[in-house]
Structure formats: C-alpha cells, structure tokens
Amino acid sequence: MTVLDTRTDPVLPDHQPHPPRRVGGGLLDPRLLLTSLPDALRKLDPRTLWHNPVMFVVEVGSVLTTVLALVHPSLFAWSIVVWLWLTVVFANLAEAVAEGRGKAQAQALRQAREDTVARRVVGWTPGATGLEEQAVPAAELRRGDVVVVEAGQLVPGDGDVVEGIASVDESAITGESAPVIRESGGDRSAVTGGTRVLSDRIVVRITQEPGASFLDRMISLVEGASRQKTPNEIALNILLAALTIVFLLAVATLQPLAIYSRAVQAAAGSSAVLDADGVTGIVLVSLLVCLIPTTIGALLSAIGIAGMDRLVQRNVLAMSGRAVEAAGDVSTLLLDKTGTITLGNRQAVDLVTAEDVEPQRLAEAAQLSSLADETPEGRSVVVLARNGYGLRARAAGELADATWVPFTAQTRMSGVDLPGGGGSDPEGTDPTGGGLLQVRKGATASVLAWVRQNGGRPGPRIGEAVDAISAAGGTPLVVAERRGDAPAEALGVIHLKDVVKPGMRARFDEMRRMGIRTVMITGDNPVTAKAIAEEAGVDDFLAEATPEDKMALIKAEQAGGRLVAMTGDGTNDAPALAQADVGVAMNSGTSAAKEAGNMVDLDSDPTKLIEIVEIGKQLLITRGALTTFSIANDIAKYFAIIPAIFAVVYPGLGALNVMRLHSPETAILAAVIFNAVVIVALVPLALRGVRYVPGGASAMLRRNLLVYGLGGVVAPFVGIKIIDLLLALVPGLS
C-alpha cells in the first residue's frame, strides 16, 4: 500500500483571520465628552443621583460647601466648591459618554424601523392562493398574523417564513451587506422586522407582539433604557456604600477629637482649616470626599454600559447585563463541531492507492470524477490533484462530450463517462484503444459493488485503507474506473477529512489555562468525533449528540457547580439554550432559538462564544481593578490631608507630610483636585476595559494587583505633589 503524503496546506475556502488576542474596545472620541455634557448636567438631579450612593454623598457635600463658601467666602473655599461640583459632573459625564455611544447606535437602528405598511392575509393555510390582503400599519401586527412580503419590501415584523424562499438584506441589523437566504421550514426560517426582501416572495407568520420586536429590544438595549444593575454590580454597590459609611463615621467623629486637641494646645493659632470650633466644614467635606471610593463610584455604571457596548460592537446582543457577567464565570464551553471547531466542510487531504496503481493514475481519476462536482468536498479533490500531484487544472467545460453522473442518495456515488478515453491519455498509449472511460467515486460499499458488477475484483488494500481512514476520523471515498470493456478497477481511496480551523488548538489551550473546559458537540460517530477532538485539543466531546444528550450534559455540568455556555440556532436547541447559563443564539437561527438564548450573535459566528467569555471577564476585571485602585488611593490622601489639618496643633504630625506639600490649603485642594481629575483620566480605561490577557488566575491577579493595587498606592503621591506644585504658584491661596 502506498500512502502518499500530501501534507501541503489544505485550501481554506472561507479562511478567517485570526482574531486579535486583545479584547479591544472603541476609542473615546473627545467630541463625545462635549456632546454628553448636557446629559451629565441633567444627571445632577438628586432624584437620579440617589441611585449612586457614593456620588450622592459627594453632591450633598458640594451643596454644603457651597453654602459655607457663601457665608465665609475665600479663594480656598470657592476652589474646593468648584472642584467638588466638578467631581460630581465628571462622574455623570463618564456615564453619559458611555450611554452616548449606545445612543448613536440606536439612532442608526431606528432608521431601519421606518413605518412600513404590512400586507396581512386573512385565513392563510399552507398552499392556499388568492387570499384577501389587508394593508395594515406594521405597528399593529400581532403575534400569529400572517403577512406577504415581496421583493423590494421591508419585512414588517419578526416572524418565521411559512411559505416560499427569498434572499433578504439584513444589513440594517447586522451591518453585513451580503444577502442571506430565508426559507420556510428548517433552521433558516426566521426573518427580522426592518430587513428588506431582495428577491422572490415569502409568507411570514409574525411571532412578536407590537413594540416588542427584536429591533425594539435592540434599540432599548444599546440605549441602556432598560438597564438594570447586575447582581455583581449590586454587591459592589453595597460594599461601596459600607465603605462610604465607615468614612462618614471616621470624618464625623473626628470633630470632637479635633476640638479637644485644639483646646489642649491653646497656643496653636486658627487657620482656614482648623479653628476653635474644630476642623472647618469645607475641610471636613473635602476629607470625606477624598476618602470615599469616588473613583469606582463614578465609573461603575460606565464600566457596565461599556461592557455591553463592546459586545454590540462585535455584533452580539446581550439581553441582560447579567448574561455578560455570567459569561465571565463560564467554566464549560459547549462548541458545535461544524463551523466552530472545523471548517464547515470536509477536505480531501490524501490519496491512498490500491495494489499496482500509480499514484498519478489515481490522482487523474479522482480529478476527472470531481470536475463537475461543485460541492466543497469535490472542489477540494481537484485542488489536491493539482497541488499534490502536479496535474494541470482542467475545467469541466473542456470535456465537451463527457456525460456527468451526478450523486444521488440512491447510488451514493458520482462520476463521469468519457467516450474514447477522454483527454486523460493524449499520447494515445491507452491499452484499451480509446473505448468508453467510466470513472466513479463515492461511498465504499456502492463503488465496490459497481466494480464487482463490472467484472472487477478489488484488492485487500482498498479495505485496509478505508478502515484506516475511518479509524482516523476521516471519510473514505473510493475511486474506480473502467476502460472500455475491461473489468472495472478500484484505483484507491480519497481521504476526506474534517479540517480543524487554524489556531483552534492554541485557543483551547488558552481556555484550559483560564480554567474553562471545552466540550465538542457533534453528530459524528464516536470514532470520528474522538479523532477530531484530539486534533483540535478540546477537553471532551459528545458524539452522536441529540438535543436530549446536550440538555443532559448541561444539567450534569451545572450540578457539578459549573457554568455552561453554548451556541445554537435550531428550534431543537432552544431548551438547551434556555438551560445554559450563557446561551448564544445565531441570528440566522429560528425565532424559538433567539427567544431561548440570552444573547444573539448577529454575525451567526459560533466562534464568537470565546470572545464573549473574554469580554465578560474583562468587564469584571475592570470593575475589580478600579475598586482596588480607588481604595489604594486613600493612603496618599491621608498623608496629604491629616498633616495639613493637624500639624498646626501637633507639629510632630508634620512628619506625615511626606510629600512636602506647600501649605495646608494647597495640600487639601490638591487632594480634592486629584480625586476629581483621576475620574476623567480613567474614563477611557473604564470604556475600553483593562488589558485582558487570557491566562491562569494567579498570573492575572499578580499583574492586576501590581498595576492597580500598587499603582493605586503610588499614583496619587505623584499626582497630588504635581498639583500642589502648581497650586503653590496661585497667589492668595495660602
């Protein structure tokens, strides 16, 4: 047996570029800051701000200091007042900017929701013709109505095609300009309101109630109108509120202590920060605002909105923020083999010859039989013959007198009949003398039966090759030919193989390091499935999977304390999509699937699941990193403010003024300004998300602790010192 090694790179028809390893995000457009300003000011309304306890406290403090500054005006007092108000405005601005980006997208979507007139048919039944049509506004369509849409018209609402086939332009929703085919029955039946039918005529049964269409939901999602706090956000808010109360206590109880200290050191003079009545109100509020976690308090909701937004930019719609959070927690990924792990189609990768057959002859026969085979498998055979065996490319049209034998489910083989030996033997050395040449290619049993019928006796090598290919998870295609009246001959076997997408193994290795188990789901038999699973490097596989098996697998994983993510598009995927913690429905799928999942991928790209997990993780990391940063900042602020207030009473405390700040006033103002400015400085980070490098928890934690923990301790020392140096130049401040 000659096994020909033809490990040239297989041709990848729809080769996708390797996705970028860093989960990026949209950049911050400086103009957005300006356009969001009115919104930011509108959010100063205490009834709105109340939902953010940390910033609400800052606002109350701002009001208080404004009153105090009015009573005892000074440059210092008014500077503090201005910067406290700016702190609140900056926080609102962060949220407004995050929302602003969504609003722009929503505007574009709204344009797709033009007022269309639907052609409702009454009493439609399958196959019925000549039914009465009513023209009704699209907004009045209810679930169960049946409408007709023809080429050039907009689909009036979400629904399933119940009759006909059409090409539909879905660019309004997906941004993808290539039209897609929608047809009745099967998993390609869902149409979305606002998309345009380009050809033919379809009958659609509406599956939505008015105002609850996919487009409506999409608009409200990207606008953040229906935004609810996620469980983790709620928990973090509780922690931040508790920290705020602790600092409120620390600052409020400081006053009697300060009065006492001032009283026992009567020699100490009064200053703008401390007099016989204790610490001045303005300074107390400044201390409080500097200590409470304003940085994270200001950016928390922007981080959440931006996380959803990053998904939208990748054409994924999450139905809730909760789903994005769950994505970060996913510990088991169920991946469909076809389209996710492997390229959609099998490819010819090798030719195995039978006894006494020249490889060249087998390649030629394989090429001939596949010339008219327009399936991807067929094309890949032609490509293999050309690239692996140096056969010149031929088009089916060259052989004008060829009779093509098409593949049917009954014969399970295809091929070609050429009169006079065809062009396969231009030198005329053909021993058959130019009789009829018949070439057949197909399923082992069918082709071998054809050979025997025509007097041939296939050798044992064919059977061995077939078994070997099957065992390796491939699909064998036997090639045979018959020249003239000679007995038919089995020439060899084409090895068709599922081709794993490039880079998948590295991706799965990465997943493993992140603690995520990957399970491949396939309808293949266990032998094939095992071979592909091993090649792709997934942790486990589910072969001959039925929807019930899938459901059972999800439940078993969940019972073991794992969170499961999966993709699906068919109606029979719906229960599993609903059961999974993260269920990503393909936009090309059925309405039932889209209803059941908690995310919809508009690109219908199952690989997206991996990116979704990364975005979920990035969202949580950003939240944790900025919380750490915010709390770590407090250390430097204490070193700025405590000596500034009390060095007058106890000069020894001046030793705490490690930054050597200019004066008590500049020190306190510098801390307040730093506190406000850092919010603006971190807005881009909050919107973009912190750098996320997939990897194990320990490495990730070490890195983030270093950057945001240690950085959070050091940064304000530097920042406050710089601001203080500048403030020292301002006359009349100290």
Binding site: A250, A252, L257, Y260, T628, F646, A697
Partner: protein, 558 residues
Amino acid sequence: MSTGLMSTPLAGTTLVAALVLLLVLVHRPLGAHLHRVATSERDLGVERFVYRLVGVDARAEQSWAAYARSVLAFSAVSVLLLYALLRAQAVLPLSLGFGGVEPSQAWNTAISFVTNTNWQSYSGESTMGHLAQMAGLAVQNFVSAAVGIAVAFALIRGLARASSATLGNFWVDLVRVSLRVLLPLAFVAALVLLATGVVQNLSSGVDATTLAGGTQHLTGGPVASQEAIKELGTNGGGFYNANSAHPFENPSGVSNAFEIFLILVIPFSLPRVFGLMTGDTGQGRAIALTMAVLALAGVALANLALAQAGGTVPGAVGAATEGVETRFGISQSATFAAATTLTSTGAVNSFHDSFPAAGGGVVLLNMMLGEVAPGGVGSGLYGLLVLAVITVFVAGLMVGRTPEYVGKKIGGREIKFASLYFLVTPALVLVGTAAAMALPSARASMLNSGPHGLSEVLYAYTSAANNNGSAFAGLSANTTWYNTTLGLAMAFGRFVPVVLVLGLAGSLAAQGRAATTAGTLPTRGPLFVGMLLAVTVVLVALTYLPALALGPLAEALS
C-alpha cells in the same frame, strides 16, 4: 532587672521562637480534636444528661436564625443570672464580706464576662467574693469562650456544606466545646500553673506587715483554676486588679510564657478545623498564616517600641520600664501585651498606659485589627473569614470571575452581611470615643490630658467594642457613663457581629458549591495571604488613622 534588660533582644527572640515552635506542634492535634468535637455523631453520657435536663434534641439541626436566637437567648439569660449574682453578693455565702455590686458596675461586669470581653471596672480582690468569682465569672469564662467557638463552627459549616438549610445545633456545640475542650484543657493548664507557683485555695487571705511597717491584706483564692481559663478562653478577667502582673496570678517568667501560650493555642488551632471541614487544609493554613504574620508583626513592633524607647540612658533611669513588672522585663512584657491585645484576651502583665507612646499605639492597633490575629477563641477565626470574604470579593473580580470563596459565590447577600460586620466595631469605637471626648464629665475621667488622654479614651472603647477587655489604665472607668456606654459597646460589639456572621453562614450554606478550576482565584497561596493582610491592615488604617493621629501618633511624633 538589669540582666533582664540587657538580654532583651535575645530573650525576646528566644521566647517568640519557642512560642512559634510550640504552636506549630500543638495546632494540628488540637485542631483535629476540635474537628472531631464539631463533627462527631456521638454524645457522651454527661452530655446526654445535660440535653435531657434542658430539653434539647441533640440531633436536631438549626437554621441560621434559630442558631442566632439560641446564642442570644443563652447570652441574655447569662447576663441576667450574673447580674443577679453580683447584686445579691451580700446575702450569698463565700462573699468574703463584700457587699452587693453597684448596679451600673454589675451590668458592666455581667455584660463584660458574657461577651468574653472581661473588661473590669472593679478591682477583683476588693469587690468579688469567692462565689461570685467561681459560680459567676469563672463559669462565664468557660461558656462565653464556648459560644465564640460555636459561632466559628457554624460559619465553617456554612462554608463547608452545600445546599444545606442548617448550621448545626448551638446547644450541642456549646456543651461539647465546654466539656470536651475547655474543661480538660483548663484542668491540665491549671495544674501546670500550680506547678509554676500560682496559688489555689479558698482562704480569705492573710494580713502581712510590709517593710514600711504598714499592713497589707493578701487575698488568696481559686486563682490557678481561674487563671487557666482566663488565658485559654481569651477572657482576660483577672482574679486580682493587677491581673497577670500580680505575683499570685503570674509568678515568674515561666508562668508568663506559659500563659502567653495558653492565650494563643486555641485561636491558632481553629483555622485547622476550617481546613479539615472544607476538605482542604491549605485553606486553613492560609488563614493561620495570615494570623501568624499579623501576630508576629504586632509582637515585633511592641518589642521594638518598648526596647527603642528604653535606649541606654533612658533605660538606665527606667524610662521604658515604667509600668513593666521587674519579674518579667521588657521582652516578656511586650510579648505578653501584644499577645493579649492580638487576641481578645485583655489580660495584662504590665501597664499599657505607661508604655512609650509608640508602644501604646501598637497595642491599640493590635485591637483595632478587629481581633483577628489570631483574635479571640472563635471570634478571631470568624472575623478573619469575614475579611477573607471581602478580600475575595475585590480580588476575585480581578481574575475575571464573580467572586467565590471555597466554592461559594460572594454575591449581594453575602457582601451585605460582611460589610455590616466590619461596620459595627468602627462605628462603636469612633462614636463612643467622639461622644466621650465631647462630654466634659467623661473627659474628667482621663488621668492625662493632651493626646495621651485621648489615647486612654480611644483605648477603652476600642477594647470594649472589640471585646478585648484590657485597659490602658489611667482612665477611671468606674463611672455611670463609662460603665453604661462601655457595656453597650461590649454587648453590640459581640452580638451584632455574631448575628451577622450567622446570617452569612446561613446564606453560604444554602448555596451549592461552584467547581474549582484554573480560573478560580486561589485562596491558599502566599498571594492570597498577602492580599488578606493588605485588606485587613488597609481597612483598619483607613478607618482609624484620623483618631490615631490625634492620640498615640501625635504623642509619638512630638
């Protein structure tokens, strides 16, 4: 005395090294024994008798709310009984002729012993007769310690169990811990103490003529038995006013070292129970290691503060040794002071008020850590576990997962309990101190003025709210104001956190267990220990720094 001073660094290091070695050796078997106590299915005969007597079904498990109700009911009854006993002392036997205890002091003392604080606004030898000491205070020394351990058991069960509605049975935990752990250990410890010279009798004392010619009344009594549980249960309430500085309670360096060991042994063994019950001893080790690092830092700082201030010249004139027992010298005193404030013991063998400012600051800071290094029996472990929950919450996010601790998700409900927990003590300390400093009458109790006076008041509320019970001295705390407010601080400082811990435990127990993967935040390595340390220290520093700045810090830096 001079030899003691000169060999301070060496003696100090040897003492600490010996303690570390001993604790490393003992924590495993004692942890295993505590684990058996917490999980055993069998009851001893005497235990069955007790259950029948009080009508408890030993096999019936309690929900967190029922567990909390039992703790509160038991403690309330304890307070009432102890209060009644103290008030009625005059008409009861073995009173040594002392009258009934005055109401505000009786309330303060009752709360103090039931909450495992053992703040003493009275002087033992001149207030309490033998009956009050033995049937009142000593009993509470046992059961209040047992209550703390029981609550720690309940929290561990919350973390160890999955999808469970119950946390065990308080009455069973209470009885078992008292009978199987504290009594036998205290018995052995008392024998050792007797051997080192601690007294044990029921005499009403003897009168001695001093060198100066005056008469001094030396009260005897069941000191060794009290002393053993006083340290073992991190109680700290001394038989005598001078507490462990009194030669009858703590006669020598040997007895002193042994008492420090007794203070630390149970708190350092409990993390082992956590490890064993969750099936991952590494988790327990990380907690114990965190406690140890904090404790060693506290001990080192206290030694340093005392030794530094006692440099050659001041040392020669006895500056840093003011308030330090000459029997012990600096290192024995500093280490004892650190151990007693790091645990919620509050026993003293020297006067913290007389320490150099930095030394006073260190013992104050030790308590402000929230008594978690290693803290009181039980309370130290549950306190640190709550901090671990908060650490995991912030750090867990940074690995890109919603946070979890030993497989338990830390969500809104858990964070609510944990946040309220760490709010309680600072609120009591700061509000109490601020109120006292604002009131002229309360200020009048201060011995010193200036920052030192402020430290005295801050120390008193810190000690009470953290259930430590040690006194800075200097403050005349036996006034209606301090008896009442410190009593309230002790009561709230003990029972509000207990209820919150049990709520947290209930919420954790009800959850399933999330699978541990490579993506899970590791909570057993040095990285986690470092984070837990940072969170503990930073939370404390941020909360108390303003107050500390005007007290010990102002004094130390002037």
